[in-house]
């Protein structure tokens, strides 16, 4: 029975997902990603994006038409030129939409253009991330960033307390000191925070893991196809998403990586395709079911409150 199920899965994710269907799936995943892209202060851009994403998801001719993607690019362009700040994920999304637009133009080999852009975009963004973490700012490479994040980042607060890595009393005391310092705006003499030794060790493990995976991603995606390192593109990307993005629930960022990773697979790599889909649902589950506060944040953002 399990053997039959695996055969069916292999057929569906392998030969069943031919190039045409794969492109449709990737474009749809990109649009689903758009639905979660515009929280809070960018509400003026929500409606056109929702409208366009819905059209693309429902009508296949629109999904495969370059003008549809040109419209999305215009919305992003408008958004990015009217906002004082632009999040990195939106820049990646903007570039990915341009890649899709170009790939759908008459005479272009859609898959080839998309695969080329997957390699270049993922390679360069992780190269930039490493550049920041190792060369420009030393707060990451010396472990400070992760140590601070484990103590005070909202994403980790509940997890470190529930898992017993820090006692609620120590955390409450640290929070009190933190609020006094931040609200004091320089007027309060900084006090030292309490940091359990095992939290420091965990911070170091997370630091090393992040640096290792991000550096490998940059190298694997930017290396030529004939290099051995290129074979590890998908495994490293999957490892990165299923660890880092589960700890830091960013399914909207992870969603676009899944779309990008999928298009770079061949029908022989059906296991990799299944893994990408599983990771996609894993990231969604972590965000929506295991992080209800984050889910509520998105819902409230869409409702404009």
């Amino acid at each position: 029975m399990i053997g039959t199920a695996i055969q069916k899965l292999r057929a569906a994710a392998g030969e069943g997902l031919n190039e045409d269907r794969l492109i449709d799936l990737v474009l749809r995943l990109t649009l689903i990603y758009h639905l979660g892209l515009f929280p809070s202060h960018v509400s003026h851009a929500v409606f056109p994006v929702f409208f366009l994403a819905a059209i693309g998801l429902i009508f296949r001719p629109a999904l495969r038409h370059p003008l549809f993607w040109a419209a999305l690019i215009l919305v992003f362009g408008f958004h990015m030129t009217t906002q004082s700040v632009t999040a990195s994920s939106r820049v990646l999304n903007f570039c990915w939409c341009i890649a899709i637009f170009i790939s759908l133009l008459p005479g272009c080999d859609t898959k080839r253009v998309l695969v080329l852009n997957v390699r270049l975009l993922i390679g360069v963004i992780f190269a930039q991330a490493i550049l920041w973490k190792v060369v420009i700012k030393q707060e990451f490479v010396d472990g400070s960033f992760m140590r601070y994040s484990l103590l005070f980042c909202e994403v980790f607060n509940d997890r470190v307390t529930h898992s017993g890595l820090i006692s609620p009393e120590i955390q409450a005391s640290n929070q009190q000191v933190w609020h006094a310092i931040i609200n004091g705006e320089g007027a309060v003499q900084p006090q030292a925070f309490q940091e359990p030794a095992h939290l420091k060790i965990l911070a170091w493990i997370m630091t090393i893991w992040t640096l290792l995976t991000e550096a490998l991603l940059a190298l694997a995606f930017l290396s030529p196809d004939r290099w051995k390192l290129a074979r590890y593109r998908h495994p490293v990307l999957l490892a990165f998403m299923s660890t880092v993005f589960v700890f830091i629930p960013l399914w909207i960022f992870g969603g676009i990586f899944v779309a990008m990773g999928l298009i770079a697979t061949s029908s022989r790599e059906w296991r990799i395709r299944v893994c990408y889909i599983l990771v996609y649902f894993l990231l969604m589950s972590v965000t929506w079911f295991m992080e209800p506060a984050l889910a509520m944040f998105y819902i409230r953002s869409y409702l404009g409150s």
């Binding site: 632009t86 005479g107 700012k137």
Partner: protein, 146 residues
Amino acid sequence: MTDEATRIRGWRRWAPFLPLSVLIAFGLTNLRNVITEKTIPWHTGGFGMHASIEDSPYRFVRVYGVDESGTRERLPLPRPLELVTAITIHPKRENVREALSRVEIDDEQRQKFASLEVELWEYTFQSDPPRLSARFVLKHEYPNNE
């Protein structure tokens, strides 16, 4: 081969690299803004987020009025506070000038200052012992008649 075919071939050759060019342009702009204008690296698309704790809540602004003798007087922050947030994220001169024009002091008080100053500070995390300490980032000064 027709001119049209040649044109399309050439166009197809470079167009796939356009997204990469856009990405690199954003990255370099981000880097320039962070170095020259002290922008927060978490914004403007340079993928500097999660590299340091710098973000808007970790920065704060102080506004001073300076009289002819050089004596500084701390002034209330401009309202609405979004103007202050704009400075903490991107302390470019336009944001500072806009904020200074909205400092809540009456005309009489404003007249006695020769210039207005805005200081930007940020908290950094010091490892041993673990604590936050304030660090001066930059200062903008404007003559009061501007």
